[in-house]
Protein backbone atom coordinates (compact mmCIF):
# COMPACT_ATOMS: atom_id res chain seq x y z
CA UNK A 1 0.00 0.00 0.00
CA UNK A 2 1.37 3.37 -1.06
CA UNK A 3 1.69 5.91 1.74
CA UNK A 4 3.41 8.87 0.15
CA UNK A 5 4.55 10.35 -3.17
CA UNK A 6 7.37 12.83 -3.25
CA UNK A 7 7.93 15.27 -6.08
CA UNK A 8 11.39 16.78 -5.98
CA UNK A 9 11.81 20.17 -7.58
CA UNK A 10 13.57 20.72 -10.90
CA UNK A 11 13.75 23.94 -12.89
CA UNK A 12 11.23 26.52 -14.01
CA UNK A 13 10.95 27.88 -17.54
CA UNK A 14 13.90 30.22 -16.92
CA UNK A 15 16.10 27.21 -16.13
CA UNK A 16 16.56 28.24 -12.47
CA UNK A 17 15.86 25.86 -9.60
CA UNK A 18 12.29 25.88 -8.31
CA UNK A 19 11.69 27.64 -4.99
CA UNK A 20 9.93 24.59 -3.64
CA UNK A 21 12.60 21.91 -3.32
CA UNK A 22 10.18 19.06 -2.71
CA UNK A 23 6.51 18.32 -2.01
CA UNK A 24 5.05 15.30 -0.24
CA UNK A 25 1.59 14.01 -1.12
CA UNK A 26 0.44 11.73 1.69
CA UNK A 27 -2.28 9.08 1.33
CA UNK A 28 -5.63 10.70 2.04
CA UNK A 29 -4.53 14.17 0.95
CA UNK A 30 -6.58 16.39 -1.31
CA UNK A 31 -4.21 18.79 -3.05
CA UNK A 32 -4.78 21.65 -5.47
CA UNK A 33 -2.37 23.01 -8.06
CA UNK A 34 -3.06 26.68 -8.78
CA UNK A 35 -1.51 29.38 -10.94
CA UNK A 36 -2.15 31.49 -14.02
CA UNK A 37 -2.61 30.05 -17.51
CA UNK A 38 0.65 28.69 -18.83
CA UNK A 39 2.28 28.54 -15.39
CA UNK A 40 2.95 24.81 -15.64
CA UNK A 41 0.07 23.16 -13.73
CA UNK A 42 -0.66 20.51 -16.33
CA UNK A 43 3.06 19.93 -16.78
CA UNK A 44 3.38 19.29 -13.04
CA UNK A 45 0.74 16.59 -12.93
CA UNK A 46 2.04 15.01 -16.10
CA UNK A 47 5.40 14.72 -14.30
CA UNK A 48 3.53 12.81 -11.60
CA UNK A 49 1.76 10.62 -14.13
CA UNK A 50 4.98 9.81 -15.98
CA UNK A 51 6.88 9.05 -12.75
CA UNK A 52 9.35 11.70 -13.89
CA UNK A 53 12.93 10.56 -13.44
CA UNK A 54 14.78 13.76 -14.18
CA UNK A 55 14.42 13.33 -17.94
CA UNK A 56 11.27 15.42 -18.51
CA UNK A 57 11.76 19.10 -19.46
CA UNK A 58 11.29 20.19 -15.83
CA UNK A 59 13.98 17.89 -14.42
CA UNK A 60 11.64 16.81 -11.61
CA UNK A 61 11.70 13.40 -9.98
CA UNK A 62 8.95 11.29 -8.46
CA UNK A 63 9.54 8.95 -5.55
CA UNK A 64 6.98 6.59 -4.10
CA UNK A 65 7.44 5.91 -0.41
CA UNK A 66 10.89 7.39 -0.79
CA UNK A 67 12.12 5.19 -3.62
CA UNK A 68 12.13 5.18 -7.44
CA UNK A 69 8.87 3.60 -8.68
CA UNK A 70 9.17 0.11 -10.19
CA UNK A 71 9.03 -0.31 -13.98
CA UNK A 72 5.75 -2.29 -13.85
CA UNK A 73 3.91 0.90 -12.95
CA UNK A 74 4.71 2.26 -16.37
CA UNK A 75 4.32 -0.98 -18.27
CA UNK A 76 0.96 -2.29 -17.17
CA UNK A 77 -1.89 0.17 -16.77
CA UNK A 78 -3.63 -2.11 -14.28
CA UNK A 79 -0.54 -1.92 -12.04
CA UNK A 80 -0.30 1.83 -12.42
CA UNK A 81 -1.34 3.49 -9.16
CA UNK A 82 -2.02 6.80 -10.90
CA UNK A 83 -5.10 7.64 -12.96
CA UNK A 84 -5.10 10.93 -14.86
CA UNK A 85 -8.33 12.49 -16.04
CA UNK A 86 -8.21 15.64 -18.14
CA UNK A 87 -10.72 17.70 -20.05
CA UNK A 88 -9.58 15.88 -23.16
CA UNK A 89 -9.60 12.30 -21.92
CA UNK A 90 -12.48 10.50 -23.54
CA UNK A 91 -13.89 7.12 -24.34
CA UNK A 92 -13.55 5.82 -27.87
CA UNK A 93 -15.37 2.53 -27.67
CA UNK A 94 -18.85 2.47 -28.95
CA UNK A 95 -20.14 0.00 -26.35
CA UNK A 96 -23.06 0.50 -24.01
CA UNK A 97 -21.81 1.89 -20.68
CA UNK A 98 -22.90 -1.19 -18.72
CA UNK A 99 -21.10 -3.58 -21.08
CA UNK A 100 -17.92 -1.59 -20.95
CA UNK A 101 -17.88 -1.39 -17.17
CA UNK A 102 -18.44 -5.14 -17.01
CA UNK A 103 -15.53 -5.74 -19.41
CA UNK A 104 -13.24 -3.45 -17.43
CA UNK A 105 -14.26 -5.03 -14.13
CA UNK A 106 -13.65 -8.47 -15.69
CA UNK A 107 -10.11 -7.50 -16.71
CA UNK A 108 -9.49 -6.33 -13.16
CA UNK A 109 -10.87 -9.32 -11.32
CA UNK A 110 -8.43 -12.19 -10.91
CA UNK A 111 -10.86 -14.93 -11.87
CA UNK A 112 -12.76 -13.04 -14.58
CA UNK A 113 -15.97 -13.13 -12.55
CA UNK A 114 -17.60 -9.73 -12.43
CA UNK A 115 -19.43 -8.63 -9.36
CA UNK A 116 -22.50 -6.79 -10.65
CA UNK A 117 -22.32 -4.70 -7.49
CA UNK A 118 -19.09 -3.10 -8.73
CA UNK A 119 -20.81 -2.04 -11.94
CA UNK A 120 -23.83 -0.55 -10.22
CA UNK A 121 -21.63 1.16 -7.63
CA UNK A 122 -19.64 2.78 -10.44
CA UNK A 123 -22.81 4.00 -12.14
CA UNK A 124 -24.20 5.33 -8.86
CA UNK A 125 -20.95 7.19 -8.21
CA UNK A 126 -20.98 8.72 -11.69
CA UNK A 127 -24.57 9.79 -11.25
CA UNK A 128 -23.79 11.75 -8.14
CA UNK A 129 -21.19 13.74 -10.06
CA UNK A 130 -23.31 14.82 -12.99
CA UNK A 131 -26.79 16.13 -13.53
CA UNK A 132 -27.70 14.18 -16.64
CA UNK A 133 -28.10 10.53 -15.68
CA UNK A 134 -25.53 8.05 -16.96
CA UNK A 135 -27.58 4.99 -17.88
CA UNK A 136 -26.12 1.54 -18.54
CA UNK A 137 -27.74 1.32 -21.96
CA UNK A 138 -26.24 4.59 -23.25
CA UNK A 139 -23.38 4.18 -25.70
CA UNK A 140 -20.09 5.49 -24.36
CA UNK A 141 -19.54 7.73 -27.38
CA UNK A 142 -23.00 9.25 -26.88
CA UNK A 143 -22.14 10.62 -23.43
CA UNK A 144 -21.82 14.38 -22.99
CA UNK A 145 -18.61 15.98 -21.71
CA UNK A 146 -19.92 16.05 -18.14
CA UNK A 147 -21.19 12.47 -18.24
CA UNK A 148 -17.89 11.26 -19.71
CA UNK A 149 -15.83 12.99 -17.02
CA UNK A 150 -18.15 11.65 -14.31
CA UNK A 151 -17.86 8.10 -15.60
CA UNK A 152 -14.08 8.37 -16.01
CA UNK A 153 -13.73 9.46 -12.39
CA UNK A 154 -16.15 6.81 -11.12
CA UNK A 155 -14.39 4.09 -13.10
CA UNK A 156 -10.94 5.16 -11.87
CA UNK A 157 -12.13 5.27 -8.26
CA UNK A 158 -14.36 2.20 -8.07
CA UNK A 159 -13.20 -0.31 -10.71
CA UNK A 160 -9.65 0.93 -11.30
CA UNK A 161 -9.27 1.47 -7.57
CA UNK A 162 -6.31 3.77 -8.30
CA UNK A 163 -4.78 5.11 -5.08
CA UNK A 164 -3.72 8.35 -6.76
CA UNK A 165 -6.07 10.33 -8.97
CA UNK A 166 -5.08 13.43 -10.93
CA UNK A 167 -7.84 15.69 -12.21
CA UNK A 168 -7.04 18.46 -14.69
CA UNK A 169 -9.65 21.25 -14.71
CA UNK A 170 -12.67 19.05 -14.39
CA UNK A 171 -14.72 21.99 -13.08
CA UNK A 172 -15.10 23.17 -16.66
CA UNK A 173 -16.69 19.92 -17.67
CA UNK A 174 -20.13 19.89 -16.10
CA UNK A 175 -19.18 18.10 -12.87
CA UNK A 176 -20.68 18.96 -9.48
CA UNK A 177 -17.36 19.81 -7.93
CA UNK A 178 -18.62 20.24 -4.35
CA UNK A 179 -20.29 16.87 -4.59
CA UNK A 180 -17.14 15.43 -6.12
CA UNK A 181 -15.04 16.73 -3.26
CA UNK A 182 -17.41 15.32 -0.64
CA UNK A 183 -17.60 11.94 -2.34
CA UNK A 184 -13.90 11.68 -2.98
CA UNK A 185 -13.12 12.56 0.64
CA UNK A 186 -14.83 9.30 1.61
CA UNK A 187 -12.09 7.33 -0.12
CA UNK A 188 -8.59 7.22 1.27
CA UNK A 189 -6.66 8.26 -1.81
CA UNK A 190 -4.45 11.07 -3.00
CA UNK A 191 -6.48 13.47 -5.13
CA UNK A 192 -4.68 16.22 -7.02
CA UNK A 193 -6.85 18.91 -8.61
CA UNK A 194 -5.47 21.27 -11.20
CA UNK A 195 -7.93 24.07 -10.91
CA UNK A 196 -8.84 27.70 -11.58
CA UNK A 197 -11.70 27.35 -9.11
CA UNK A 198 -11.68 29.41 -5.88
CA UNK A 199 -13.44 26.82 -3.76
CA UNK A 200 -11.55 23.52 -4.23
CA UNK A 201 -8.16 24.95 -3.11
CA UNK A 202 -9.67 26.30 0.12
CA UNK A 203 -11.00 22.86 0.98
CA UNK A 204 -7.81 21.06 0.00
CA UNK A 205 -5.21 20.06 2.57
CA UNK A 206 -2.69 22.22 0.79
CA UNK A 207 -2.11 23.89 -2.54
CA UNK A 208 0.95 24.28 -4.70
CA UNK A 209 1.28 27.68 -6.35
CA UNK A 210 2.85 27.70 -9.81
CA UNK A 211 4.45 30.57 -11.71
CA UNK A 212 6.53 30.48 -14.90
CA UNK A 213 6.82 26.70 -14.89
CA UNK A 214 8.02 26.49 -11.28
CA UNK A 215 6.54 25.53 -7.90
CA UNK A 216 6.87 28.77 -5.97
CA UNK A 217 4.93 28.12 -2.75
CA UNK A 218 3.08 25.47 -0.79
CA UNK A 219 0.16 26.86 1.23
CA UNK A 220 -1.61 24.75 3.87
CA UNK A 221 -5.26 25.69 4.28
CA UNK A 222 -5.84 26.35 7.96
CA UNK A 223 -9.02 26.70 10.00
CA UNK A 224 -9.54 30.30 8.76
CA UNK A 225 -9.54 29.22 5.12
CA UNK A 226 -11.95 26.39 5.82
CA UNK A 227 -14.38 28.82 7.40
CA UNK A 228 -13.91 31.13 4.45
CA UNK A 229 -14.66 28.19 2.18
CA UNK A 230 -18.12 27.89 3.71
CA UNK A 231 -18.84 31.50 2.77
CA UNK A 232 -17.42 31.03 -0.70
CA UNK A 233 -19.76 28.11 -0.96
CA UNK A 234 -22.77 30.31 -0.24
CA UNK A 235 -21.68 32.70 -3.00
CA UNK A 236 -21.06 29.74 -5.26
CA UNK A 237 -24.49 28.24 -4.59
CA UNK A 238 -25.98 31.63 -5.42
CA UNK A 239 -24.21 31.68 -8.76
CA UNK A 240 -25.13 28.06 -9.37
CA UNK A 241 -28.77 29.01 -8.79
CA UNK A 242 -28.47 31.77 -11.36
CA UNK A 243 -26.82 29.42 -13.80
CA UNK A 244 -29.64 26.95 -13.39
CA UNK A 245 -32.28 29.63 -13.93
CA UNK A 246 -30.51 30.95 -17.03
CA UNK A 247 -30.27 27.45 -18.43
CA UNK A 248 -33.93 26.82 -17.87
CA UNK A 249 -34.95 30.00 -19.66
CA UNK A 250 -35.30 32.37 -16.67
CA UNK A 251 -35.39 36.17 -17.01
CA UNK A 252 -33.98 38.63 -14.47
CA UNK A 253 -34.44 42.16 -13.13
CA UNK A 254 -31.54 44.51 -12.33
CA UNK A 255 -31.70 44.08 -8.56
CA UNK A 256 -32.02 40.31 -8.57
CA UNK A 257 -28.77 39.76 -6.58
CA UNK A 258 -29.76 42.10 -3.72
CA UNK A 259 -33.04 40.29 -3.39
CA UNK A 260 -31.26 36.97 -2.84
CA UNK A 261 -28.41 38.32 -0.67
Amino acid sequence: MIERITLTGGRGKDGRAEQVASVDFAMGNVVSIVGPTGSGKTTLISDLELFADGSTPTGRRVLIDGVTPPAEYREDPSQNPIALITQHTSFLSDLPVGDFLRIHAGVRSRDGVVAEAVVSQTLAFANQLTGEPVLPALRMTELSGGQTRALLIADAVVIGNAPIILLDEIENAGIHRMKALELLRQYRKIFVFVTHDPYIPLLSDFRVVMAAGAMTKVIRSGEAERRLAQRVRVADDLLAGFRERIRSGGEFSADELEAVA
Binding site: L50, E75, P77, F91, L92, D155
Partner: protein
Amino acid sequence: MKLAICAGPATCGKTSVLRHTTRKLLARGSRVAFLKIDVQYAEEDEELAREFGIPTKKVYSGELCPDHCNVMVLGEALEWAEREAADVLLVETAGLCLRCSPYVDGGLGIVVLEATSGMNLPRKIGPMLSLADVAVVTKIDRVSQAEREVFRARILDAAPDIRVREVNALHGIGIDPLVERMRATPDVCGELTLRGNPPVGTCTICVGKKTVGWKSHFGVVRPLENQTFYRGE
Protein backbone atom coordinates in the same frame (compact mmCIF):
# COMPACT_ATOMS: atom_id res chain seq x y z
CA MET B 1 23.39 -7.47 -38.33
CA LYS B 2 20.39 -7.13 -36.07
CA LEU B 3 17.00 -7.27 -37.75
CA ALA B 4 13.74 -5.78 -36.46
CA ILE B 5 10.57 -6.11 -38.51
CA CYS B 6 7.79 -3.75 -37.60
CA ALA B 7 4.27 -4.38 -38.88
CA GLY B 8 0.92 -2.80 -38.24
CA PRO B 9 -2.22 -1.40 -39.87
CA ALA B 10 -2.05 1.87 -41.83
CA THR B 11 -1.37 5.03 -39.80
CA CYS B 12 -1.04 3.17 -36.51
CA GLY B 13 2.23 4.94 -35.72
CA LYS B 14 4.92 2.58 -37.07
CA THR B 15 7.06 5.36 -38.48
CA SER B 16 6.64 7.48 -35.36
CA VAL B 17 7.82 4.58 -33.20
CA LEU B 18 10.75 3.79 -35.52
CA ARG B 19 11.75 7.46 -35.73
CA HIS B 20 12.16 7.70 -31.93
CA THR B 21 13.82 4.29 -31.88
CA THR B 22 16.27 5.33 -34.59
CA ARG B 23 17.16 8.51 -32.74
CA LYS B 24 17.86 6.60 -29.56
CA LEU B 25 19.74 3.78 -31.30
CA LEU B 26 21.98 6.31 -33.05
CA ALA B 27 22.60 8.10 -29.75
CA ARG B 28 23.79 4.78 -28.30
CA GLY B 29 26.22 4.27 -31.16
CA SER B 30 24.27 1.84 -33.39
CA ARG B 31 24.41 2.22 -37.17
CA VAL B 32 20.84 2.02 -38.42
CA ALA B 33 19.51 1.23 -41.91
CA PHE B 34 15.80 1.50 -42.75
CA LEU B 35 13.65 -0.35 -45.27
CA LYS B 36 10.00 0.45 -45.96
CA ILE B 37 7.74 -2.03 -47.74
CA ASP B 38 4.40 -0.68 -48.83
CA VAL B 39 1.85 -1.45 -51.50
CA GLN B 40 1.86 1.65 -53.66
CA TYR B 41 2.93 4.74 -51.80
CA ALA B 42 5.44 5.63 -49.10
CA GLU B 43 7.82 8.45 -48.32
CA GLU B 44 9.30 7.33 -44.99
CA ASP B 45 12.61 6.47 -46.67
CA GLU B 46 13.12 10.07 -47.78
CA GLU B 47 11.96 11.48 -44.43
CA LEU B 48 14.24 9.34 -42.32
CA ALA B 49 17.20 9.78 -44.64
CA ARG B 50 16.76 13.54 -44.41
CA GLU B 51 16.25 13.54 -40.65
CA PHE B 52 19.04 11.20 -39.60
CA GLY B 53 21.31 10.84 -42.63
CA ILE B 54 20.95 7.04 -42.47
CA PRO B 55 20.80 4.66 -45.47
CA THR B 56 17.15 4.02 -46.41
CA LYS B 57 15.28 2.19 -49.12
CA LYS B 58 11.72 1.49 -50.15
CA VAL B 59 10.02 -1.32 -52.05
CA TYR B 60 6.52 -1.23 -53.50
CA SER B 61 4.87 -4.61 -53.35
CA GLY B 62 2.22 -3.76 -55.95
CA GLU B 63 0.28 -6.91 -56.77
CA LEU B 64 1.91 -8.91 -54.00
CA CYS B 65 0.83 -8.94 -50.38
CA PRO B 66 3.49 -6.79 -48.63
CA ASP B 67 4.39 -9.70 -46.37
CA HIS B 68 5.00 -11.94 -49.35
CA CYS B 69 7.07 -9.19 -50.86
CA ASN B 70 9.03 -9.06 -47.63
CA VAL B 71 9.86 -12.76 -47.99
CA MET B 72 11.15 -12.11 -51.49
CA VAL B 73 13.35 -9.11 -50.72
CA LEU B 74 14.56 -9.46 -47.15
CA GLY B 75 17.73 -11.44 -47.86
CA GLU B 76 18.97 -8.90 -50.36
CA ALA B 77 17.95 -6.07 -48.04
CA LEU B 78 20.25 -7.45 -45.35
CA GLU B 79 23.08 -7.59 -47.89
CA TRP B 80 22.34 -4.00 -48.84
CA ALA B 81 22.39 -2.89 -45.20
CA GLU B 82 25.68 -4.76 -44.72
CA ARG B 83 27.21 -2.88 -47.66
CA GLU B 84 25.98 0.37 -46.14
CA ALA B 85 27.96 -0.56 -42.99
CA ALA B 86 24.84 -0.69 -40.81
CA ASP B 87 24.53 -3.01 -37.82
CA VAL B 88 20.74 -2.76 -37.35
CA LEU B 89 18.16 -3.07 -40.13
CA LEU B 90 14.71 -1.71 -39.27
CA VAL B 91 11.97 -2.85 -41.64
CA GLU B 92 8.58 -1.11 -41.67
CA THR B 93 5.92 -3.07 -43.47
CA ALA B 94 2.20 -2.59 -43.89
CA GLY B 95 0.26 -5.56 -42.59
CA LEU B 96 -2.63 -5.73 -44.96
CA CYS B 97 -3.95 -9.18 -45.66
CA LEU B 98 -4.11 -10.20 -41.97
CA ARG B 99 -3.37 -13.82 -42.80
CA CYS B 100 0.37 -13.43 -43.20
CA SER B 101 2.99 -12.15 -40.84
CA PRO B 102 6.36 -10.81 -41.87
CA TYR B 103 8.48 -11.89 -38.88
CA VAL B 104 11.48 -14.18 -39.31
CA ASP B 105 13.17 -16.49 -36.84
CA GLY B 106 16.13 -14.83 -35.17
CA GLY B 107 14.91 -11.28 -35.84
CA LEU B 108 12.76 -9.17 -33.58
CA GLY B 109 9.06 -9.04 -34.55
CA ILE B 110 7.24 -5.88 -33.54
CA VAL B 111 3.56 -5.26 -34.12
CA VAL B 112 2.30 -1.70 -33.69
CA LEU B 113 -1.32 -1.22 -32.68
CA GLU B 114 -3.05 2.04 -31.93
CA ALA B 115 -5.03 2.17 -28.70
CA THR B 116 -7.57 4.29 -30.56
CA SER B 117 -8.44 1.50 -32.97
CA GLY B 118 -11.12 -0.06 -30.81
CA MET B 119 -10.93 -2.85 -28.29
CA ASN B 120 -11.59 -5.63 -30.79
CA LEU B 121 -8.57 -5.02 -33.01
CA PRO B 122 -6.34 -7.51 -31.16
CA ARG B 123 -8.89 -10.22 -31.94
CA LYS B 124 -8.93 -9.45 -35.64
CA ILE B 125 -5.38 -9.36 -36.86
CA GLY B 126 -4.20 -12.96 -36.46
CA PRO B 127 -0.53 -13.87 -36.90
CA MET B 128 0.59 -10.26 -37.29
CA LEU B 129 -0.04 -10.10 -33.54
CA SER B 130 0.25 -13.67 -32.33
CA LEU B 131 3.68 -14.28 -33.89
CA ALA B 132 5.26 -10.98 -32.82
CA ASP B 133 7.68 -10.65 -29.89
CA VAL B 134 6.60 -7.17 -28.85
CA ALA B 135 3.28 -5.36 -29.22
CA VAL B 136 3.75 -1.60 -29.17
CA VAL B 137 0.54 0.23 -28.30
CA THR B 138 0.54 3.81 -29.58
CA LYS B 139 -1.72 6.82 -29.04
CA ILE B 140 -2.28 6.03 -25.36
CA ASP B 141 -2.49 9.78 -24.84
CA ARG B 142 -5.86 9.70 -26.62
CA VAL B 143 -7.77 7.11 -24.61
CA SER B 144 -8.90 6.51 -21.06
CA GLN B 145 -6.89 4.32 -18.75
CA ALA B 146 -9.83 1.92 -18.55
CA GLU B 147 -9.75 1.35 -22.30
CA ARG B 148 -5.98 0.97 -22.24
CA GLU B 149 -6.35 -1.83 -19.72
CA VAL B 150 -8.98 -3.65 -21.74
CA PHE B 151 -6.92 -3.26 -24.92
CA ARG B 152 -3.87 -4.71 -23.20
CA ALA B 153 -5.85 -7.63 -21.78
CA ARG B 154 -7.17 -8.45 -25.25
CA ILE B 155 -3.67 -8.38 -26.74
CA LEU B 156 -2.55 -10.84 -24.08
CA ASP B 157 -5.58 -13.05 -24.79
CA ALA B 158 -4.53 -13.27 -28.44
CA ALA B 159 -0.79 -13.54 -27.74
CA PRO B 160 -0.11 -14.66 -24.15
CA ASP B 161 3.69 -14.51 -24.35
CA ILE B 162 4.03 -11.15 -26.05
CA ARG B 163 5.61 -8.13 -24.33
CA VAL B 164 3.23 -5.18 -24.40
CA ARG B 165 4.82 -1.74 -24.53
CA GLU B 166 2.60 1.31 -24.29
CA VAL B 167 4.00 4.43 -25.89
CA ASN B 168 3.13 7.94 -26.81
CA ALA B 169 4.88 7.89 -30.17
CA LEU B 170 4.20 11.56 -30.71
CA HIS B 171 6.51 12.57 -27.85
CA GLY B 172 8.64 9.45 -27.68
CA ILE B 173 7.46 8.45 -24.20
CA GLY B 174 7.96 4.78 -23.35
CA ILE B 175 10.35 4.01 -26.24
CA ASP B 176 13.44 3.13 -24.15
CA PRO B 177 12.51 -0.48 -23.30
CA LEU B 178 11.95 -1.17 -27.01
CA VAL B 179 15.37 0.24 -27.84
CA GLU B 180 16.96 -1.95 -25.15
CA ARG B 181 15.15 -4.99 -26.52
CA MET B 182 16.52 -4.26 -30.00
CA ARG B 183 20.02 -3.87 -28.69
CA ALA B 184 19.70 -7.19 -26.87
CA THR B 185 18.51 -9.02 -30.01
CA PRO B 186 21.25 -11.30 -31.42
CA ASP B 187 22.52 -10.85 -34.97
CA VAL B 188 20.71 -12.81 -37.65
CA CYS B 189 22.85 -15.37 -39.42
CA GLY B 190 22.56 -18.09 -42.04
CA GLU B 191 19.34 -18.89 -43.83
CA LEU B 192 16.32 -16.86 -42.73
CA THR B 193 12.99 -18.56 -42.28
CA LEU B 194 9.56 -17.11 -41.95
CA ARG B 195 8.09 -17.59 -38.49
CA GLY B 196 4.53 -18.38 -39.53
CA ASN B 197 3.01 -20.51 -42.24
CA PRO B 198 1.77 -18.46 -45.16
CA PRO B 199 -1.92 -18.92 -45.93
CA VAL B 200 -2.88 -21.49 -48.51
CA GLY B 201 -2.66 -19.80 -51.87
CA THR B 202 -3.23 -22.55 -54.39
CA CYS B 203 -6.86 -22.52 -55.29
CA THR B 204 -8.72 -22.17 -58.53
CA ILE B 205 -9.54 -18.53 -57.77
CA CYS B 206 -5.84 -17.77 -57.50
CA VAL B 207 -5.23 -19.29 -60.90
CA GLY B 208 -7.88 -17.17 -62.51
CA LYS B 209 -11.27 -18.90 -62.41
CA LYS B 210 -13.75 -16.17 -61.57
CA THR B 211 -17.12 -17.92 -61.27
CA VAL B 212 -18.64 -17.18 -57.88
CA GLY B 213 -19.59 -20.06 -55.55
CA TRP B 214 -17.47 -22.76 -53.94
CA LYS B 215 -19.09 -25.52 -56.01
CA SER B 216 -17.37 -24.10 -59.08
CA HIS B 217 -13.95 -24.47 -57.48
CA PHE B 218 -11.42 -27.09 -56.52
CA GLY B 219 -8.66 -27.14 -53.93
CA VAL B 220 -9.21 -25.52 -50.58
CA VAL B 221 -12.80 -24.22 -50.57
CA ARG B 222 -15.09 -22.73 -47.97
CA PRO B 223 -18.87 -22.74 -47.90
CA LEU B 224 -20.69 -20.04 -45.91
CA GLU B 225 -21.78 -22.25 -43.05
CA ASN B 226 -18.93 -24.78 -42.83
CA GLN B 227 -15.24 -24.78 -42.21
CA THR B 228 -12.64 -24.71 -44.93
CA PHE B 229 -12.07 -28.11 -46.54
CA TYR B 230 -10.29 -29.70 -49.46
CA ARG B 231 -12.25 -30.52 -52.60
CA GLY B 232 -10.78 -32.42 -55.50
CA GLU B 233 -8.22 -35.17 -56.12
